[in-house]
Amino acid sequence: DRFDWLSVTFLLGAVLLCYYLVPLLSLIVSQPPGVVLERLRAPEVVSAATTSVTAAVTSTAIATVFGLPLAYWLARVDGRMKTVVTALVILPLVLPPIVSGMVLLTVVGPNTLLGEAAADSGIPLTRSLVGVVLAQTFVASPFVVVTAKTAFEGVDRRLEYASQSLGKSRLTTFRRVTLPLAWSGILAGITLAFARAIGEFGATIMLAYYPRTMPVQIWISFSTLGLENAFPVAAILVGIAIATLVVLN
């Protein structure tokens, strides 16, 4: 009885692992790397990559600057307030990306107050790099907040008390005790946010069909020219995903 159960367990887990692994191997096998590498220099690939990286770096930076203080506050507060704010931070994570794009459009869309005002000042909030950044920030920044919150919670509060009792200010304590100890967790959050931002598709396609990010470029290549034409951009994104995994360890 015990033996059977262990075997079945092992088998079920292994099936799931194969389901993650096989498609990835299949992608690598199905296309000769030479051909893919050659097409990486195509102008639409370079343009999409530039747009994606610029937007993702910007939105990750915004997420970090605005998210870390929120994460620290959430880690050190208690009670009802914490529950409500945490729920609000998780909301963009459980909201479908396409819906995230929709709700953003109701605020920054071309026919809204804010959208019109911005467009008049020459900074259109949709169909622009700003639009991409807005979409990516909404969807990706919760990763910084949630992961950094956990990292801050992992720093023994008594160490902060000890530092303050030794006559150090809160800022010094944060800079020299809390931040160094939470750093690896925070880095993980930033990495996850970057990965999420650069892979964002649903919200981006709603806010900014142009300029094309890599995921949008894949969709267009696939739907107009077929699967093969999407491979070069996909190769870059798979590379970034694997680099993310390396950083996360």
């Binding site: 023994d156 160490l159 008390y161 530092s163 009792s165 030794l166 006559g167 200010s169 005790v177």
Partner: protein
């Protein structure tokens, strides 16, 4: 001078205070069972917890609503709470304003050789020395210690306790030493406060608290295991006669009112002998009995004696040499003697 006035704090299900307490340039050891409010007391002074009411002043400065940074109250945590990403030296110099102070403290606390190691590689005793050096490096106006020896092995604990005793004598600030170990509390404290359920059950010099407990709780918690219900028969200015069951014992004069009392005898104050003919002047209370059981506890033996003609069992702790001489065994007859000065009476309400 550290002064606490009517300090109180209510958590869910636990009430601390109101506590009034003054600590001068002395060591106050705070003793009590877990959950009696010892750690809450320290949190209120350092500022990690705000009181519901009452006030704290340190050398005349009110500490209420001040930040931790401004209080200058140095706290040594149970496990040291060293910064794990810094070496021992970095931990200490983090707190010190003068680099020479690090060298000085390291030599005082005998940690010069381990200054370049990180906390996780240090033994428990070494971590506590570094933590102490770090706290002292900030020149605090009061020193608070939260069971710093409780996680150490016996020989290191004994050694560090002796060193703390010497160190404390050289400091001229109020020191509060929290512990649940009566031995350490007695050895280190100039005064002692026994906590129970968030309030102070008794305070005073350790020798007085130990020999003259004011309640059953204090008696039991400080190791007075022999507690019997008795009735006062006669009381004069010289002595008191108390009846326990069918037996009568003579105690020193007492100020306890009422006729029913709790008779307290510390096991280390009970002597055992084979004959009742011994005529040491102070041994007036000689009770015949039978050994019920005995336990070798290493440094001493613990002997339970059933007293003849009274439904009571007296526990005595005696030294190994005496145990060997008396050839004690279960069932053997023995005489218990208790000097009147070792019998303490608590009046019952």
């Amino acid at each position: 001078m550290l002064e606490l006035t009517a300090l109180s704090k209510t958590y869910d299900g636990f009430e601390f205070g109101p506590v009034d307490l003054t600590v001068g340039e002395e060591v106050l050891s705070v003793l009590g069972p877990s959950g009696s409010g010892k750690t809450t007391l320290l949190s209120l002074i350092t500022g990690t917890t705000e009181p519901d009411s009452g006030s704290i002043t340190l050398d005349g400065r009110p500490l209420d609503r001040r930040s931790l940074q401004e209080r200058r109250a140095g706290l040594v945590f149970q496990d040291g709470a060293l910064f794990p990403h810094m070496t021992a030296r970095e931990n200490i110099s983090y707190a010190a304003t003068d680099p020479d102070r690090v060298t000085e403290l390291a030599s005082l606390l005998e940690i010069t050789d381990i200054l370049d190691r990180r906390p996780p590689t240090l033994s428990g005793g070494e971590q506590q020395r570094v933590a102490l050096a770090r706290t002292l490096a900030a020149d605090p106006d009061t020193l608070l210690l939260d069971e710093p020896l409780s996680s150490l092995d016996a020989p290191i604990r004994r050694r560090l306790r002796g060193e703390l005793h010497t160190l404390f004598e050289s400091l001229t600030i109020p020191i509060i030493y929290v512990t649940h170990d009566q031995r350490t509390a007695t050895a280190l404290g100039d005064r002692m406060a026994i906590f129970r359920d968030g309030t102070i059950a008794q305070r005073g010099p350790p020798s007085r608290v130990l020999t003259r407990p004011e309640t059953r709780f204090v008696a039991q918690f400080t190791g007075t295991e022999n507690l019997f219900e008795g009735t006062i028969v006669t009381a004069s200015e010289e002595d008191t006669t108390v009846r326990i069951g069918d037996r009568t014992v003579r105690a020193s004069a007492t100020d306890s009112a009422g006729s029913t009392v709790t008779v307290c005898i510390h096991p280390s104050r009970v002597s055992l002998s084979l004959e009742d003919s011994e005529t040491r002047p102070e041994s007036e209370n000689i009770l015949p009995g039978t050994v019920d059981q005995w336990l070798n506890e290493g440094a001493d033996y613990r002997v339970d004696v059933d007293i003849d003609g009274a439904p009571i069992t007296i526990i005595a702790t005696i030294q190994p040499a005496v145990f060997d001489r008396l050839a004690i065994d279960t069932g053997s007859p023995i005489h218990v003697s208790v000097p009147p000065s070792a019998i303490h009476l608590i009046s019952r309400q």
